[in-house]
Symmetry: C2
Subunit: 189 residues, 2 copies
DNA sequence: ACAGCCATGTAACTTGTTACATGATTTT
DNA sequence: AAAATCATGTAACAAGTTACATGGCTGT
């Protein structure tokens, strides 16, 4: 819902038209979320369909550049969006998580190697983000820095998690190699 | 692509049918990713359309329970998926990030309050995960624990990021309140 | 004349997702 | 007999995304 609310938030500030929304949206995301212009128009259409924005047809006069304005319903929905926290309810809807989970269960996949490859890739990402952060101007590029912070924290968490996975798998392997100490029945299918 | 590859990975182990894939998929994700049965069938259809799985029609004989088998192409694609790390290329495609970014730029949104609300929600989430983790059996519920780890690390990162955002915004506010020390021109539109 | 930006829009497609219709088998 | 579980499938939609067609206006 990011693009949808993104455009809605921009239209909440001032009426605007497609092309302008595209550039404004990209500026807001620190220039790092390129958006296809076609998507802007389809998203506006959907917002209009849902009564959240409306076209300013007659008063402007221009045939090109049709401007859109947020409606009261749109403003209300935007306010609700800002007021309610984003719940990470969708637990494992994440590709990396499910991949590791499946790899662990698969048997014929080298999970340790997978984790190591991912770790290397994540570290590289992290370094790239850090380099970009060092170049940014703390006064001018606030949006970009906020975004980089998000990416950095998330990637760090990912690396920690990969290590935790590795540890879990190693401990599983050693537990399987060592003879069971007490009454530990294997009941897995 | 999680569901898609999830089903493909399950079919890589053994041929199976829709209903069974559903339960297996849910078991794999530690029982926390409920999947609508309809989605399983649509996803299988799409996999078949793409030549990654094929139906075992005649040999089984049964009219119900049509089994599917992975094809060589499917196996190849699955292997590629496992081999290549998940790149977090899509930078800000995240709802919370874009929300904060938009709120900061909006002007009429109380960003500090937004951050605090989100922080409270995230802390609650974190506690819920931790409680569930404490209850889990480290031997039996490995998948579930791996998943919980992911959620916990991610939520911790989110909280750290929220705090970093708060700090950035406060420092911006204080910089705006204090008179500029040197030649710092304001050129924002 | 031609390159390039400003500007709009449609068709088509992807994955994810739900609601609904349908029926067999098994358990209570 | 009724309820629950096993089982399949379709229609329809959401949101994101890209490729393509179209044209005006500006600078070289």
């Amino acid at each position: 819902m990011s693009v949808r609310y993104g455009l809605l938030a921009l239209l909440d500030e001032a009426p605007s038209h497609g092309y302008n929304l595209k550039t404004a949206f990209e500026r807001r995301t620190g220039g790092s979320w390129a958006i296809n212009i076609g998507q802007v128009y389809t998203t506006i259409q959907r917002l209009e369909r849902d009564g959240l924005v409306e076209s300013l047809g007659s008063s402007a006069g221009d045939d090109e550049r049709r401007e859109y304005r947020i409606t009261p319903a749109g403003r209300a929905q935007l306010a609700t969006w800002f007021e309610n926290p984003v719940v990470a309810e969708a637990p494992a809807r994440d590709e990396l998580t499910i991949k590791v989970l499946l790899a662990v269960a698969a048997g014929d996949v080298d999970v340790t190697a997978l984790l190591q490859r991912q770790r290397r890739a994540s570290i590289e990402q992290l370094q790239a983000y850090t380099r970009r952060k060092a170049k940014a101007d703390p006064k001018r590029d606030v949006a970009f820095l906020i975004l980089l912070d998000a990416l950095i924290f998330r990637t760090e968490a990912e690396i920690r998690w990969l290590d935790a996975c590795d540890a879990r798998i190693r401990s599983l392997a050693s537990a399987a190699a060592a003879p069971p100490t007490a009454g530990s029945k294997e009941t897995d299918g």
